[in-house]
Amino acid sequence: MGRAGLLLRLAWRNLWRNARRTVILLLAVTLGVAAMVFAAAFSRGMVVAMVDDAIDHLPGHVQIHAPGYRDDPAAEHRFPYPQGRLRAVLDGPLVAAWAARVRVPVVVASEYDTAGVTLLGVEPRREAALAYLGRASVDGRPLADANDAGLLIGRRLAERLDTVRGRRVVITAQGADGALADRGFRVVGLFRSPWSSEEKGIALTGLATAQRLLRLPGEVNEVAVRAADPERLEALVAALRAAAPELEVADWRTLSPLTHAGQQLYSQFTWVWYLVVFLGMAFGLVNTLLMAVLERTREFGLFLALGMRPRWILGQVWFEALLVLVLGLAAGNGLALALARALGEVDVSAFAAGAELAGLAQRIPLIIHGGDLALANGLVLALGLAAALYPAWRAARLAPVRALRRN
């Protein structure tokens, strides 16, 4: 400890011999680390926004279906409204919100035109807590409850059908028993969605109304679940599977593979960014240390003459790198955290032409994640110290006489 203390003291003082150079180096490390942490926060925010968006638009984090439904989303692939053990898990601590739905393809016809859409029989109160459509702004009136017999359709579907609020449309569908069913609905409201596919392709009515139409009393096609902790989906999926072994339970990564791929892409971008920033930083660090070692060659010769072992000389230079890295990391993290806190989120709508298509959100929250922080800091520290070994080794390898002759 005594010797480490000595080396640390020497390193600290040597650092401030050329204060200007050290400040520049510190600035580079600070900005580099800040750039890494900020990029990680942005990237994570992007992913979270993307996933949230995807989750919000109907799937939820986890969905439950009857076997066969995902290949053939027909009314006959149905299961009882959640009860017993399944209901216990859904109402338990792992779940933030859930909703049971009837969800089938139907044909909707106005006086002028017909369109194939997805009919959702919903419990409005539950949907509001779960998905965007449950909260979407409605021109007209929203659905009141599961017994509501009105129909809510997207604004663009209304345009397509050339119908307006208050008019009647007819919905034709295949019931659970295989027989065709149809029924007239009054269009009580038009909803808006940032996703045009929703505005064009979805019609909503009360759950009980849909069950009567399709002849599946007390049954549903889908339960969508929003997890209490999105980081721990596995536990939720396992609990649901255990509670309903006869049903199919899948999380969003299976249901929305594109979103999942996007998430991975962003994490790869972050790594490339880390690499670029780190290489710049390491280059500056190694160069500065080499310069410092060259300038102090005679001094190292003196240390050797006094009996300092080569590896303590190595330690001396290495401690200088350590100090720069620790100071730079502290400042860089501080800067990134302050910036992230001040900004809160980044509005990318100006750049996000086609964002909807790519499934991107327009306001990206900046999320500082403990794991990201630890990774960026650990990476810079470990690799920075590894890079500093080279100049330190150069100093330690000096032959004492040759170093002493240098004036």
Partner: protein, 232 residues
């Protein structure tokens, strides 16, 4: 008496580009513990080379060197550093001190490397600095000390941990005669009172006058080796 330093047929040839520069051409020498040896000779005669070889800062081209019973050729660079740390003090002509350390810290440096505890270090460093006439200047960095004061700090550092041997390469060359004499008197006193062995290179006649043993080098060979009794 066993020799503290033994050189046998030591040669050193530097290579400068295509040319071989012989610096030592076969030196045999024994130095006993407690001696006060002056190494004289014109510039280029090989004084610095000889001191560096004895201190293990450089390796000979031929021959054998033993210091404190250890054959230097058998030691790794780390072990040679350890030998210097435990047994040898150095004083160079100039730039002897670590610029970022105060006088006191420079003196403590060697003890710190040896692992001496802080309290003992402080006490010994203060005492030795007082002994070389630098009481009150302990906290100054080298840049704030005169050339003579810096050399005294270097001598204090060289002897503070009671080494067997102090090698001083033209320690007074950059000092005026007043400061030079003062430094020599300090070294003589330490030699007399503590029995530290000194080997001092110089071409200054005033320094030679202090020596009990005067070795003259010429062209890399020992030309004369005289012992004198009881100089001033």
């Amino acid at each position: 008496m066993d020799a503290l330093v033994t050189l046998r047929a030591v040669t050193k040839t530097y290579r400068q580009g295509e040319v071989d520069v012989p610096a030592l051409r076969g030196v045999d020498l024994d130095i006993a513990a407690g001696e006060f040896v002056c190494l004289s000779g014109p510039s280029g005669s090989g004084k610095t080379t000889l001191l560096n070889l004895i201190g293990g800062l450089d390796t000979p081209s031929g021959g054998h060197i033993q210091v404190a019973g250890r054959d230097l050729a058998r030691l790794s660079p780390g072990e040679r550093a350890e030998l210097r740390l435990r047994h040898i003090g150095f004083v160079f002509q100039a730039y002897n001190l670590i610029p970022v350390l105060s006088a006191q810290e420079n003196v403590e440096l060697v003890m710190e490397l040896q692992g001496v505890g802080a309290a003992e270090r402080h006490a010994r460093a203060r005492a030795i600095l007082a002994e070389v006439g630098l009481a009150g200047l302990e906290g100054r960095r080298p840049a704030a000390l005169s050339g003579g004061q810096q050399q005294r700090v270097a001598v204090a550092r060289a002897i503070v941990s009671a080494p067997d041997l102090v090698l001083a390469d033209e320690p007074t060359a950059n000092l005026d005669s007043e400061n030079g004499r003062r430094l020599l008197e300090i070294m003589r006193r330490l030699n007399g009172e503590r029995g530290v062995t000194f080997v001092i290179s110089t071409h200054d006649p005033e320094v030679m006058a202090f020596a009990r043993r005067l070795i003259r080098l010429h062209d890399g060979r020992i030309q004369a080796d005289e012992r004198r009794d009881g100089p001033p």
